[in-house]
Amino acid sequence: MDLTRVLAGPYSTRILADFGAEIIKVQSKKTATGAESNTAPYFCAWNRNKSSITLDLSRLEARELFLKLVKISDVVVENFSPRVMTNWDLNYDRLKEVNAELIMLSMSGMGQTGKWKDFVAFGPTLQSLGGLTYLTSYSQDEPTGLGYAYADLVSGLYGVIAILAALEYRDKTGHGQYIDLSEYEAVCTTLGPTLMDALTNQNEVLPKGNAAGHIPAAPYGCYKCLGEDRWCVIAVFSDEEWNDLCSVMDNPTWAMEDRFSTPTKRKINEAELDTRIEKWTSKQTAEEVAKLLQEAEISSGVVQDAEDLSNDPQLLARDFFVELKHPILGTTTTDKNPIKFRGSKQESLRASPLLGEANHYVFQELLGLSENDIRSYRKKGIIA
């Protein structure tokens, strides 16, 4: 049973849906707006392969129907503010009364405990709080951060890992359980080594743009190429790679200078080095640079935009994108799950559901309500 909204929660249940779990998403006419509107492309992206029912959970009778569904479910996932489920008398203690083996996952910004538990937060808020925005910047005077809500997807992945681990545990012990997932903490786990650096060494870790930081590499960074807003990346880790890079560049005299002769010296003179490298890259396309350097076995690549990604021969060769037929939006394109099981038949993917599309199936076939019951629930605004 999926009570989640917007991104982190829906992404979690989408991964389960991608691999064949039956996900029943509980929606209502009142809340199916904005990012939760069934015809919004954003909604379609995160809710494929799921079924949709309508239940106005602010109504007691709707909650009674919900509990009947909980009884026949394995997992309930929600990402409301911590108070909501309790206010509806649908917290874990209540749900386990009807289904002792149930696994319930609550996903929230701050977690279910602590004095900030009721704070409001979205993915970008948590990237700021967790240190990722500060560190992903050209300097500490100009915090920049990522151009998207990465934290929600990381949380979604943690959510599905938690559910699957709890299912393993249930298989062995017969016990269900409650899981409290904090998105703030999820962001922090992706900065583990840096947080340990700050903890252990009392180091102030500063943002450094694309500089390699602790990786002993130079040149290392993003360089301008031919064309409008076209860029490549180059990462040179060893003297051997440096020599290979020099020969790809036709051994220019500047590259033979003593100040670029060792990794340490290249690191010290990095600004100068980068200017020289960029002079060379800016005369050719990013694709050409990447090709030349990869032929010489140097880590390099193209800074791809969305259009590049949609045509990327590597992604296309691996069937990364798929077209799904949506009853209203027509053909929609989306990315497949990057978890690939070699030699297995691809799971079939369905477009996201229309609002309440599975009402008949769920209430009649799964719960055994009569046509009349359903009609009356609809009239009363319970199934609505």
Partner: protein, 405 residues
């Protein structure tokens, strides 16, 4: 082996061999933190990922890679050269007794040394092999060299991050490796459920590039549905809803349009709402079209405040605002302290205790924090080879002298 209920971890009984470098060390760490028994297998002499900074400074005996430490807590450690004939046969003996292998070698390498999935499956039909590489096991770029920077570029992360007047900006830290490890661990757990029904192992193929592209949120969604090419626009979020503004003592991450009337009332009570009080700004479309002006007036106001004033007062009024925290500030966060997010780990080599970020979930059952520090090179050789594989002291010495162990 029967494990008492109260001592059972979520993944107790799951056995994992970890051949991964820094690309996917985090994958089996996720499993180890939930109770799986993970054996890290390093080449004699130690894995090169031990040489990746940051390092713990001022230690007595040796400097420790904090990156290696973080990615390998709760694991056991042995050394083994799987390229040598005897090393390979020892490895296959371990494979017989294991559920999962995580590896990050270049595609084709395992085949070259005759240890590809087919061979492993012959040894153990239930084996789950997860391979994490720059571009995956197939496709025209599968043999290309990659690293976090290359994966971020090819994956589409960099193009949409950074300031429009500056080069694209890579996410800090090895984010492509963390994302790939999260997908890899998810794949392992999915394969385990499948195996419980079919008895069959699986080979899972994870690409760093795809792990980046799969976590771009709006980018491909908008491109495919609206043919919009998302570009970098500094700290201003793609939908213009969030941005970062300066305060007296730092920076606040705030929303520009939410609860507009409350926000203007708040600013006005301090005499700082300026022309934003005008009726025309009540129209959300107008605000969106003139976002630069909204930012200008708002930042004059935020500069008169401390970050935490805006954060705490704003949260009381349900504004989803937050300080832009540095790592030092994250460490001092009262919320993380209250939830005991950081755990103490004994570090035998340093003879001290290291604090380490914990896991983001609290399970009501079965999560038993083992709190074991990352192993030193070959720390568990004796235990695994002698006690588990039954190798004699003499034989072990011989294998060590031949640099197989």
């Amino acid at each position: 082996m029967r494990i008492e209920e109260k001592e059972r971890g979520l993944l107790s009984g799951l056995r994992v061999l970890d051949l991964a470098d820094e690309k996917a060390g985090f994958c089996s760490k996720l499993l180890a933190d939930m109770g799986a028994r993970v054996i890290k297998i390093e080449k004699p002499g130690g894995d090169p990922s031990r040489n990746i900074g940051p390092f713990s400074e001022g230690s007595l005996k040796s400097k420790t890679s904090l990156s290696f430490f973080y990615n390998n807590t709760n694991k056991l450690g042995i050394t083994l050269d799987i390229e040598q004939r005897e090393g390979k046969s020892l490895f296959l003996r371990l494979v017989k007794e294991t559920d999962v292998i995580v590896e990050t070698f270049p595609p084709g390498y395992l085949e070259q040394i005759d240890l590809d999935f087919k061979v492993l499956k012959k040894t153990n039909p239930e084996i789950i092999l997860v391979s994490v590489t720059g571009f995956g096991q197939t496709g025209p770029r599968r043999d290309d060299k990659s690293c976090d920077l290359v994966a971020s570029a090819y994956g589409g992360q960099m193009y949409v991050s950074g300031s429009p007047s500056r080069p694209p900006l890579k996410a800090f830290g090895e984010q492509s490796c963390f994302a790939a490890s999260l997908f890899a661990a998810t794949g392992v757990l999915l394969a385990l459920r499948k195996r419980a029904k079919t008895g069959e192992g699986k080979h899972i193929d994870i690409s760093l590039q795809e792990s980046v592209t799969a976590t771009l949120e709006h980018v491909m969604v908008r491109y495919f549905s609206e043919r919009v090419l998302p570009r970098r626009q500094g700290s201003l979020h793609w939908n213009d809803v969030f941005t970062v503004l300066p305060c007296k003592d730092g920076f606040i991450h705030l929303t520009l349009f939410q609860q507009w009337e409350t926000l203007i009332e708040w600013m006005d009570s301090e005499g700082m709402a300026e022309d934003l009080k005008d009726e025309k700004w009540l129209n959300e479309d107008y605000r969106q079209a003139n976002v630069a002006h909204v930012i200008k007036i708002l930042s004059r106001w935020t500069k008169t405040h401390q970050v935490n004033e805006l954060f705490e007062q704003g949260q009381l009024m349900r504004f989803p605002w937050a300080p832009v925290q540095s790592p030092g500030e994250v460490l001092r966060s009262p919320q993380l302290k209250e939830r005991n997010f950081f755990v103490d780990l004994n570090h035998p080599e340093m003879g001290s205790v290291l604090k380490c970020p914990g896991v983001p979930y609290r399970f009501s059952r079965g999560l038993i924090p083992k709190k074991k520090s990352a192993p030193s090179t070959g720390a568990d050789n004796e235990m695994i080879y002698k006690n588990e594989l039954g190798i004699s002291e003499e034989e072990l010495s011989r294998l060590i002298s031949k640099h197989i162990i």
